[in-house]
């Protein structure tokens, strides 16, 4: 045991918890903690340029590694700047610890300089939060915070620490607890065997089954089991935006992403299914469309989720199974393997014939533009080819995000990193920093637009300081593409505040001023060569500014208020 101050104890506790990397930004209320960081070399700190980026970087790190991301910010504006990133992590169930400095205990409530009620402000977007009242509480609070953030349905946990609690002159005997038990918190560790048996019986008797899997399969490390189960059943599999990579996209059983911008075959297969096995997915409105009464009318729904509140929230599950994805899938797989009942081969064959018929529609076929203009889809296809499908791809939010989801075929989990739930523009670049720091030798591409990238473009400086060789693939259509698409489709083409062509920066000069490399691509004929050139630069950040067809829309697109089989397939065709 050692005598430590609160600040030293905090950093020591992070180290004892296995943390070797944190993201943050210093300020008054956090200065004791920053001094503690200076005095040790176990926990590395990455200085970002805005607290929002710290949370996204920690989030990207967590999504890529499965380990919790850790953030350190100061009180007041430091804490409020972190809010968007905390909400982003909360919506996508990402384990994260956010440590915020707070004004000294005696100043709380007095409107002190840089005081804000972080516990109150963050309350609806955290899994839990702690205010630390004495230095002695630090080890146990850190232990509990990591336990809560990483177990059950993961999520962000805030630890708010008043400045005087980390005072270097106040020391105590440090002891990090080995175990943790919270009497009011006990996440499920397995599913109900009776329910699992019931689900397997229904699945094996199905004539038109589909597996619909979401982000929970990736977070719950269930990809291999899911893939094995799907192979045993021989049924089609669709992934949500958050679930891409949970089942290999190049597998013939994969029918593509479903939902608002899902493939024609994925949405048709869902609509016509008689049994849907939903795994770690939450039937959110981008999947079901707005009117759940029209959702998959013939389907018996088997729903596995660790969060009971996610079950029957929007679409009623016929067989709910509350439990962690991996043990439940394992139990299902064992039952399927030992069952005397086998999937009906004839029914399955007939089912696949119908699916192949839908596939023939080729809803993701790209019609080339004239005059050597690059279609945004072609840019993603080039990215996929150049990186051989092996890159970690982060994205921002908008058309480029959907194109990346549709045209980059993820075969492995944790490779596709995007803000699915909150839809946070500005997520991509800082998230890529977290991924690149976790895997220094990996190819990390940030797919973005000229709109999103400007929401956290200051992080180009962090990338320089940390020498991160991220490849920023910017689909530049000189407009907020998705907003413009909706305005085209629903507001008579009135582009209210979605264009800014005359005020865009020269991105090449901009990134060069940070010491990075910029490559502009304007012609389809040079797309592949220049993309290859960019990715051949291994030791530097390269900003690839790709001029794409500004008129392009994302299709398929669900028709508002319709069922899953109602889609626009292009500007002129609909189902």
């Amino acid at each position: 045991m050692a005598l430590l101050s609160g600040g030293d104890a905090l950093i020591r506790a992070l180290h004892d918890e296995g943390v070797d990397l944190i993201f943050g930004y210093p300020g008054g209320a956090a200065l004791h903690i920053y001094d503690a960081i200076f005095n040790q070399d176990k926990v590395e700190h990455i200085l970002v340029r805005h607290e929002q980026a710290a949370t996204h970087a920690a989030d990207g790190y967590a999504r890529a590694t499965g380990k919790p991301g850790v953030v350190l910010v100061t009180s007041g504006p430091g804490a409020t700047n972190a809010i968007t990133g905390i909400a982003t992590a909360f919506m996508d169930s990402i384990p994260m610890i956010v440590i915020s400095g707070q004004v000294a205990r005696e100043s709380i409530g007095l409107d002190a300089f840089q005081e804000t009620d972080m516990i109150g402000i963050s309350r609806p977007i955290v899994k839990h939060s702690f205010m630390v009242h004495t230095p002695e509480d630090i080890p146990s609070v850190v232990k509990q915070a990591f336990f809560i953030a990483t177990t059950g349905r993961p999520g962000p946990v805030v630890i708010d620490i008043p400045k005087d609690v980390t005072d270097p002159s106040v020391k105590f005997e440090y002891h990090y607890p080995e175990t943790v038990k919270i009497r009011s918190y006990s996440p499920p560790t397995k599913g109900h065997s009776g329910q699992i048996k019931k689900a397997v019986d229904i699945l094996l008797a199905a004539r038109r089954p589909i597996i619909y899997s979401g982000g929970g399969v990736i977070i719950g490390e269930g990809s291999e089991l899911l893939t094995a189960l799907a192979r045993k059943i021989g049924c089609p599999v669709t992934n949500t935006l958050m679930g891409l990579g949970a089942f290999p996209a190049t597998d013939k059983q994969f029918v593509g992403m479903l939902g608002m911008h899902g493939t024609y075959e994925a949405n048709m297969t869902m609509h016509e299914a008689d049994v849907i096995l939903a795994v770690g997915a939450r039937f959110d409105d981008r999947v079901t469309n707005s009117d759940v009464r029209k959702f998959c009318p013939d389907a018996t729904i088997l729903h596995i989720d660790i969060d009971p509140a996610a079950i029957s929230k929007t679409v009623t599950a016929h067989v709910p199974i509350v439990g962690p994805v991996a043990p439940v899938l394992k139990e299902m797989l064992e039952l399927v393997e030992t069952s005397k009942v086998k999937p009906d081969k004839e029914a399955m064959q007939a089912w696949w014939e119908r699916i192949e018929h839908w596939r023939k529609r080729q809803s993701l076929a790209v019609i080339p533009a004239e005059n050597d203009v690059i279609k945004p889809q072609q840019a993603i296809q080039a990215l996929y080819e150049v990186t051989k499908g092996e890159a970690y791809v982060t994205s921002d939010v908008g058309q480029h995000q959907m194109f990346a989801a549709q045209y980059y075929h993820f075969d492995k989990p944790r490779r596709w990193i995007n803000s699915g739930g909150l839809g946070t523009m500005g997520f991509g670049l800082p998230a890529a920093m977290g991924v690149q720091l976790a895997f220094p030798d990996a190819v990390v591409a940030c797919v973005t637009g000229e709109g999103s990238i400007q929401m956290n473009i200051q992080e180009l400086a962090t990338c320089k300081q940390c020498a991160l060789p991220i490849k920023i693939v910017t689909l530049n259509n000189k407009a907020l593409g998705m907003v413009k698409q909706w305005q085209d489709m629903q507001y008579g083409g009135r582009h209210s505040h979605s264009t800014y062509a005359d005020s865009l920066p020269d991105f090449i000069k901009l990134v060069e001023s940070y010491g990075h490399v910029g490559i502009r691509i304007e012609k389809l004929s040079e797309l592949k060569a220049k993309m290859a050139e960019a990715f051949a630069i291994k030791d530097k950040l390269v900003f690839i500014d790709i001029a794409v067809d500004p008129e392009e829309h994302v299709y398929p697109m669900a028709i508002r208020g319709g069922a899953m089989n109602e889609m626009f397939l292009s500007k002129t065709e609909r189902t």
């Binding site: 839990h128 939060s129 205010m131 918190y185 969060d307 009971p308 509140a309 029957s312």
Partner: protein, 163 residues
């Protein structure tokens, strides 16, 4: 349908705000709410009444259960239960009305807990319905102030909500 949900939770700062915040965040109603520590000072017992269909109540219960501070909870209206609410009501009591108010209070087993020459303060306990009934029975009597505690409840029989 009106429900009484009884929650056993950690007696921690911030715990109550998490429960109340959940209701506004998810667009649920709280009609009444009472909270106080139990015999075990580390635990609080919170009783709230809300209105909703089965689907909504199921979601409320699931989301309350998700809160880390919530140890256990029960929808008391699902089984036989006792509910009580306390009301302190200050009414004008002069002239002939003075005796009439006292008579009505007696019928409702109310207790006059404070008097002045011109008013009574009456304490009434019972179900919320009974308290509503008492107020209705005072029709014509000027009511000066009403303070209600909100509903507390407990299951009948051997069912116990404890750790």
């Amino acid at each position: 349908m009106r429900r009484i949900i009884s929650v056993l939770m950690e007696n921690q700062p911030g715990a109550l705000s998490r429960v109340v915040g959940l209701f506004s965040q998810r667009n649920y109603n709280i009609n009444s709410l009472t909270v106080a520590p139990t015999d075990d000072e580390s635990l609080s017992r919170l009783t709230l009444t809300t209105v909703g269909d089965d689907r909504k109540i199921e979601q409320i219960i699931k989301h309350l259960n998700k809160l880390v501070d919530v140890a256990k909870l029960v929808d008391l209206t699902e089984g036989a239960h006792i509910e009580r609410e306390l009301m302190l009501i200050k009414v004008k009591a002069t002239g002939a009305q003075r005796a009439e108010v006292k008579r009505v209070a007696d019928i409702f087993r109310g207790v006059v807990v404070d008097i002045t020459p011109t008013m009574y303060t009456i304490q009434v306990t019972g179900t919320s319905e009974k308290l509503d009934g008492f107020i209705a029975a005072l029709a014509g009597t000027p009511i000066l102030e009403v303070v209600r505690s909100g509903v507390s409840g407990i299951a009948r029989g051997e069912k116990v909500l404890s750790l």
